[in-house]
């Protein structure tokens, strides 16, 4: 019987052919924790008798969620992570080096065909690389760091086929928002999503990361973009599904007529055509995160804002996904354009995405954000409202002071 991409990758690691529904104990190729999950991971690692991580080259800690530390409590947790990394001889990515998912991909902690376990729910982002990557909590991660293994139930796979090419001015973010709206926040719970079809084939790695990233918003265990068209700086062997692979469900969409999309408060699957929300006044525009903080995201915002000023009633925050993204955006002039337009640059990292610091909205304020989540209270204030959109939508809305279709600025 044929296999899906997940079934093939897990089979390669379990040493036997496995199919959806089977329980396996699998070797992992890499694992990481952030400063939200790392301290509890270290605590659990010690409690379970851990002395040495299974392989210091395959384990990483990243300080990104509250970086630099906003108070002494978090400063002490960061210190605990630094001490642990030093003791174990493993790499710790410091404040400002970037968001966990971005630095794992940039530094090749994960490669096509790998199984990667991350103590963060957006670990499926690496499905952009044709890897099987899932998020776990701290205690699971401690066990993986200690043993180099994880127990998994081989997931069933949902196939999402998107035919047609996206129109100019419509981006990967619009497409994934549209798909989250269709599949819903719990539509893929426990399952893998395989994204396949013409719409994905021409996508850059960065766009594929945006797609795979929001598999989490459908409850999926992971999401893998079909490797057709994937270009990397190194050679790799692509894992493709068999023609007779078994899918629990299939979706088919022709996306050639797709308009920019917006997810309205307060659930990522509350997705509509942007025309439904055009004119909604905004106070705060945010571009960043593991979903949309990469160079192409900042570039498109700069294209829209070049030579202009953002609206007087709007403030804009930019958090590049990594230091390397920031350096590229400095070299190509994007960062200068954004700052001249009135944006405020903050440390590479999660920034205001998770409401810890660096830009919490006030009561009654409306945010347009390039992030992946808009749950109530997500940015630190339960009395604010968050709309999600593409970086292009965020930039155009910052310019006009209300939500607006960015297409006219891009054609």
């Amino acid at each position: 019987m044929g296999q899906t991409i997940s079934e093939k990758i897990i089979s390669n690691h379990a040493g036997k052919k496995v199919y959806a529904g089977e329980l396996v104990i699998s070797d992992v190729d890499g694992c990481m924790a952030s400063d939200t999950t790392g301290p509890l991971t270290i605590k659990a690692f010690r409690e379970m008798g851990g002395k040495k991580v299974f392989n210091p080259k395959k384990c990483a800690l990243i300080i990104d969620h509250a970086a630099p530390s906003p108070n002494e409590r978090i400063a002490n947790l960061h210190k605990m992570m630094r001490d642990f990394a030093k003791e174990q001889g493993m790499r710790l990515f410091e404040i400002g080096e970037g968001i966990c998912h971005q630095v794992m991909v940039e530094n090749q902690y994960v490669k096509p065909g790998d199984i990667f376990i991350g103590a963060d729910s957006h670990t499926p982002t690496y499905g952009a690389l044709n890897a099987f990557a899932c998020g776990v909590g701290s205690t699971d991660l401690a066990a993986t760091m200690m043993t180099g293994k994880i127990w998994l139930k081989v997931p069933q796979t949902i196939k999402i086929n998107c035919s047609g090419k996206l129109q100019d001015g419509v981006t990967a973010k619009d497409l994934i928002l549209f798909l989250v709206g269709k599949v819903t926040v719990s539509g893929a719970t426990y399952q893998t999503i395989e994204f396949t079809g013409e719409a994905f084939e021409g996508m850059t790695l960065a766009s594929r990361m945006t797609i795979a990233n929001m598999s989490s918003e459908m409850g999926a265990k992971t999401g893998i973009v079909h490797p057709k068209g994937l270009k990397l700086d190194y050679d790799f062997e692509a894992i493709t599904p068999d023609d007779d692979a078994n899918y629990i469900k299939s979706f088919d969409f022709d996306v050639s007529g797709l308009e920019p999309q917006v997810s309205a408060p307060e659930s990522p699957d509350n997705v509509h055509n942007i025309s439904n929300y055009e004119g909604t006044k905004i106070n705060y525009a945010f571009i960043g995160t593991c979903c949309n903080g990469r160079l192409e995201d900042l570039d498109i915002a700069a294209e829209i804002l070049k030579g202009k000023k953002i609206h007087a009633d709007v403030r804009m925050v930019i958090a590049p996904a990594s230091q390397s993204v920031l350096l590229d955006a400095i070299s190509n002039g994007t960062m200068k354009t954004l700052i001249e337009a009135g944006a405020s640059l903050i440390t590479s990292g999660c920034g205001p995405c998770v409401g810890t610091h660096q830009g919490v909205p006030a009561d009654g304020e409306v945010v347009i954000s390039a992030a992946n989540r808009n749950f109530r209270g997500r940015m630190g204030n339960p009395n604010s409202n968050i709309y999600l959109g593409a970086p292009s939508t965020v930039a155009a809305s910052a310019l006009e002071g209300h939500i607006v279709n960015p297409k006219k600025y891009l054609l």
Binding site: T36, L40, S138, G380
Partner: protein
């Protein structure tokens, strides 16, 4: 089950569908190893009264997709620390489900339950049978995979690995 009470008779606090981890414990409170901070803010954006009315041993009941969102283990830890003895939902988001078992907070999936706010429940974790004494209905929970039962039997993954050194099926 070592360290876990298997027969629970307590009151149900009932909430709706898609209770995400930001509502269970907002991100701004998660960066701590102090469990009482977590308990003080549990469910605060959903029901600011919850931590005042919850009593040791009470049961949390929800609809579908409980615990969706972040991977933060602080979510089940906050519930456990606040006194919740078991979470019953129509179904769970997968990371929350694993996390709860790993830290020794029992979770039961009752696909079509109609448990009302304030109901008295009698739960047998060994059999997965839940009696709604107020509603007069008896439910049977979906069976957990064996490895999860073994982890829960030890009181969580830390104890399981301390005892076994690694996983086994």
């Amino acid at each position: 089950m070592s360290g876990i009470q298997t027969n629970i008779k307590a009151k149900a606090h009932v909430y709706g569908d898609h209770i995400d981890t930001d509502r269970i414990i907002p991100g701004k409170y998660t960066k701590t190893l102090d469990m009482s901070t977590l308990a003080n803010h549990v469910l605060e954006d959903l029901d600011p009264n919850f931590n005042k009315i919850v009593k040791q041993g009470d049961i949390l009941v929800a609809g579908i997709n409980f615990g969706c969102g972040s991977s933060r283990e602080q979510a089940p830890l906050a519930l456990k620390q606040a006194g919740v003895s078991v979470v019953i939902a129509q179904d769970f988001a997968r990371i929350f489900f694993r996390n709860a078992i790993n830290i020794g907070l029992p979770v039961l999936e009752l696909a079509n339950h109609k448990i009302d706010k304030g109901a008295e429940l009698d739960v047998d974790l060994k059999t997965g049978i839940v009696k709604d004494l107020t509603g007069g209905v008896t439910y049977t929970a979906t069976k957990l995979p064996d490895i999860m039962i073994n982890i829960l039997n030890e009181g969580g993954l830390v104890n399981y690995l301390t005892k076994n050194g690694s996983y086994s099926l």
